[in-house]
């Protein structure tokens, strides 16, 4: 029997063989998925914001791209994964709200920052993974629609579902 583990906003969870890790309803958030196919260890960080957790608010490291990636990697290694074998996939980072962009695609004045936070989250996650020396093997990011993620730790298969594009396996 496979166990389904839900990873909520700002959470970082690592699990072993036969589990399915999921994030339901990712908008601008990014799911950082790490997998060690040999040790059969997998984990997801559900990142909400770019940057890193301010020190005085270190109780939510998983909320911010850089600290989330560090924590996820640490938890993966603690569970027996080897950094050399870890492959990463990233999903999410959409710009959820439909707005009329400016002539060069910029966000016009008067909109909240969340209208463009998706792409900034993706950029921050990519750069923090690069800093950690990890490679991204696949991604399903951007657009203006929400997604759900189902990550099968045993095989490393990642299913992405959304209203707009249906089911995609990456």
């Amino acid at each position: 029997m496979s166990e389904t583990i839900r990873v909520g906003l700002a959470e970082v969870k690592v699990s072993g063989n036969s589990s399915v890790l999921t994030c339901i309803g990712l908008g601008s958030c990014v799911a950082v998925i790490m997998h060690d196919p040999v040790a059969k260890i997998g984990g997801i960080a559900h990142v909400m914001l770019p940057g890193r957790a301010p020190e005085k608010r270190a109780d939510m490291p998983g909320k911010y791209a850089y600290t989330a990636v560090e924590l996820l990697l640490e938890e993966m290694e603690k569970s027996g994964a080897s950094r050399e074998r870890i492959s990463c996939k990233i999903v999410g980072g959409s710009n959820m709200f439909k707005i009329q962009a400016g002539p060069s695609g910029e966000v016009p004045k008067g909109y909240p920052r969340s209208v463009s936070i998706g792409e900034r989250n993706v950029a921050a996650v990519e750069s923090s993974l690069r800093e950690a020396g990890l490679k991204i093997s696949a991604e399903h990011t951007g657009g203006n629609f929400g997604r759900s993620v189902f990550f099968y730790v045993e095989t490393g298969k990642v299913e992405v579902t959304s209203i707009t594009v249906g089911k995609v396996v990456i």
Binding site: G8, L9, A10, E11, I24, G25, L26, G27, S28, C29, H46, M48, L49, R57, D59, M60, K63, S94, M96, F97, K98, I99, G110, Y111, P112, R113, S114, V115, I117, G118, N144, F145, G146, R147, S148, I163
Partner: protein, 206 residues
């Protein structure tokens, strides 16, 4: 909430909820004028939710929803959203097109109409909030989307300032009589906003 372990007093929460009740009343009147039918509202529910659970709290993360979102600036910043199930939003737009005897709207037009209605409702909510408290609430441009409720809520939480592991919100449920239209107006104050508003209302700070 942002500060670790900080709690609001029962009196503060009650006072803030009461203010939200008045504001929701104004929004309901605005909606009832738009749809020409009675609109009922629930007693507001104030909740403090752990961050990972917030997206699940309004009808389930995967429920298809339509949302009009306004970020509010000024001395009491926060975020406010009108959230309807997709079918409710559709019924609302159909009801209006019937009333105005218009041809069927395209998807784009429907979304734009929904954005307008949302802007009006949230506008009257904030207007009332300004009248009750004497503070100025400056909404940014309303943003609209139709998608999974969890994805919508998760995205707007990115705008909250000073809110870390726990999120305070006040939700009011409304229902348009004789129509299958129900929805929520949800207010998410930034850190410090609830204190400011309740202090203005004379609630002692503990």
């Amino acid at each position: 909430m942002g500060k670790k372990g900080k709690e609001y007093s029962g009196l503060q929460v009650d006072a803030f909820s009461e203010v939200c009740n008045i504001c929701a009343g104004h929004a309901a009147v605005a909606l009832s004028k738009i749809v020409d039918t009675k609109v009922e509202i629930s007693v507001p529910i104030a909740r403090v939710l752990p961050l990972p659970e917030v997206t699940e709290a309004f009808g389930g993360s995967e429920t298809l929803a339509a949302g009009v979102y306004m970020r509010v600036e000024g001395p009491c910043p926060g975020s406010i959203i009108l959230l309807l199930g997709r079918e409710s939003a559709k019924s609302l737009i159909e009801h209006l097109t019937r009333k105005l005897d218009k041809r069927e709207l395209s998807e784009r037009e429907s979304l734009s109409a929904f954005q307008e209605i949302g802007g009006m409702l949230l506008g009257s909510y904030l207007n009332a909030l300004g009248q009750v408290t004497g503070y100025k609430f400056k909404p940014l441009v309303p943003a609209v989307t139709i998608d999974m409720a969890g994805a919508i809520i998760g995205t707007i939480l990115a705008d909250l300032e000073g809110i870390e592991s726990r999120v305070f919100n006040v939700e009011t449920k409304f229902r348009v009589s004789n129509e299958e239209i129900t929805g929520y107006i949800i207010m998410f104050p930034d850190e410090g906003t609830l204190e400011k508003i309740t202090k203005r209302l004379g609630v002692p700070v503990e």
